[in-house]
Symmetry: C2
Subunit: 340 residues, 2 copies
Amino acid sequence: MGLDDRKLDVLRAIVEDYVATQEPVGSKALVERHQLGVSPATVRNDMAVLEEEGYIRQPHTSAGRVPTDRGYRLFVDRLSRVKPLTPAERRAIERFLVGAVDLDDVVHRTVRLLAQLTRQVAVVQYPSLARSSVRHLELVPISTTRLMLVMIADTGRVEQRLVELPAPIPADDVIDLRRMVNEKLGGTKLADTPPLVQALVEEVNPQLRPAMTTLATVLLETLVERHEERIALAGTANLARGGLLDFQGSLRPILEALEEEVVLLKLIGEVEPSTTRVRIGDENEIDNLRGTSVVSTGYGPGRTIVGGLGVLGPTRMDYPGTIATVRAVARYVGELLAQN
Amino acid sequence: MGLDDRKLDVLRAIVEDYVATQEPVGSKALVERHQLGVSPATVRNDMAVLEEEGYIRQPHTSAGRVPTDRGYRLFVDRLSRVKPLTPAERRAIERFLVGAVDLDDVVHRTVRLLAQLTRQVAVVQYPSLARSSVRHLELVPISTTRLMLVMIADTGRVEQRLVELPAPIPADDVIDLRRMVNEKLGGTKLADTPPLVQALVEEVNPQLRPAMTTLATVLLETLVERHEERIALAGTANLARGGLLDFQGSLRPILEALEEEVVLLKLIGEVEPSTTRVRIGDENEIDNLRGTSVVSTGYGPGRTIVGGLGVLGPTRMDYPGTIATVRAVARYVGELLAQN
DNA sequence: ACTGGCACTCGCTACAGTCGAGTGCCAGAG
DNA sequence: CTCTGGCACTCGACTGTAGCGAGTGCCAGT
């Protein structure tokens, strides 16, 4: 059945009031605070329908109504307009991000900024290596059998790994190795490197082969297997704000989930289109995080996307405001990266 | 007044029982569970004295006794023997730390291990730059006006910073710069570099001076001003374990404190002697962390100390066990680093 | 289609009563 | 002088009852 306009108005009013007050909202309070132009009784009838359709529910018989996940979903999809940022927020963003000296700095500032603006838990993914290109590979001899491999990506990311060589290697050979890997891999998308690395091992002259083989192993491990992705987190203290009224009872499962990089990546890393994604309550794939909502989006220089960022909070959150903030921050970060 | 041996036994028993059960302990339960060889009435008299001296207190009139911070302090200083680790714990430590590929990996594994073993919040400081020596400085040209400065320390730490040059610089000059900084700074303690860096700027030939000046600025900034110290954190979910019985009420101030690097450094970074440090409740300098206890110690290869690590938990914690674990982990990590 | 009225539900608070763990004190034994 | 058993006392935790009030669902009337 089609919900008529007034019922939608009622739902919107319920969501807004509940988000603001954190208390179940009744029919009387609703007509007082919003100009609905009808009586409480009418609103009650509308509420009954909304409840039947699963958009709101009553915590107890004698209490007001609270939006369900489904109700929030409808609200986000059809009833809310994106709130423009206040000038103060704009200024905060600029002030916070100006003066960042390198990628690490940008990411840290961003995640703190997001946490502060939204008053929720913020998560920022470092530019994904999979979406980066190799800018330079550096080999620094540590001893005759040890090299430090430093990879610098065009996104500003720098990764290093220790390479333990099977046999001592003269300094000149290190130079050769460096030249070869840079010639072959420089400028290529990291996602495309595995076959190239393979080729390197096969083409190299026999004398360098053992060294190149271990080097290749480390390269593949670093790029594909291990950390590949990095994540920054901030604002966990905000979880404990609502006096535990949100997150029925225990923060533990949430904190546990937030300690798993894999989980965080799932949350904000899956960025396909450049649109903002909102996951509400049960829509979350992570069991520990049902009961929370996640707003995430991709960021990157220009129109490309190199990573994701977002925030996590109670389902009872200010969606329009949060979405606006997340988008704005992502855009600013993109601009910052574009200056590279 | 001198507490006689039995009173100390009583205090020990109270601490042990309270830590185990999390409930105020009464005189009757005490004589039942420990072989004190006296009646409850006698214990009560002892308790009265202990309370008067400030080692224990009663939450309510009709409840048992609970140790005070002062009581825990006495317990830690004089009444507890360090618990040897179980073989299972030893094995866990080895299994966890074997196979770490580089410093980052070591630190991350260590912090997770500590959190898991102690079931508390674990903090590990990366080897302090102030206590490291420069092994190598690398300059990688990114563009004609940008260099990536990569510093590798003998402790395995690698720091990088982008250097924005005032004017384009030819490739040969970069090589010169690299040679100069390495000759001058290579092998020196980082704490001693500032004057050397200064000297470099003054000695360099005029053509390279502008580049060297900005390079020097970045070097000093990186080493002295900025991150200098890095920290890894794990196990925050353990805070929410005790059902909020510990940490009267809110986790918020604690989580807030844990997000501040400065605070964490204060907690575990001040390592003077190689001994283990225990801060109990109010002894903590950080206001937000009164009500928690911190066990910390230094670690490093051989007898030297390059950084600190420790755990944070409720004042009601298993001190002997925690101290033993923290020490053992620190020792293993030291051995691991010594293999460099 | 909306409204006012009314009976009903049920969580919240206050209050009284009971129970029991634990204490402090004291007189007496060793 | 130290320890012990006994006893009265305190006070938090729990239970049950009662009244209140916010909020609802339903219905008859406009």
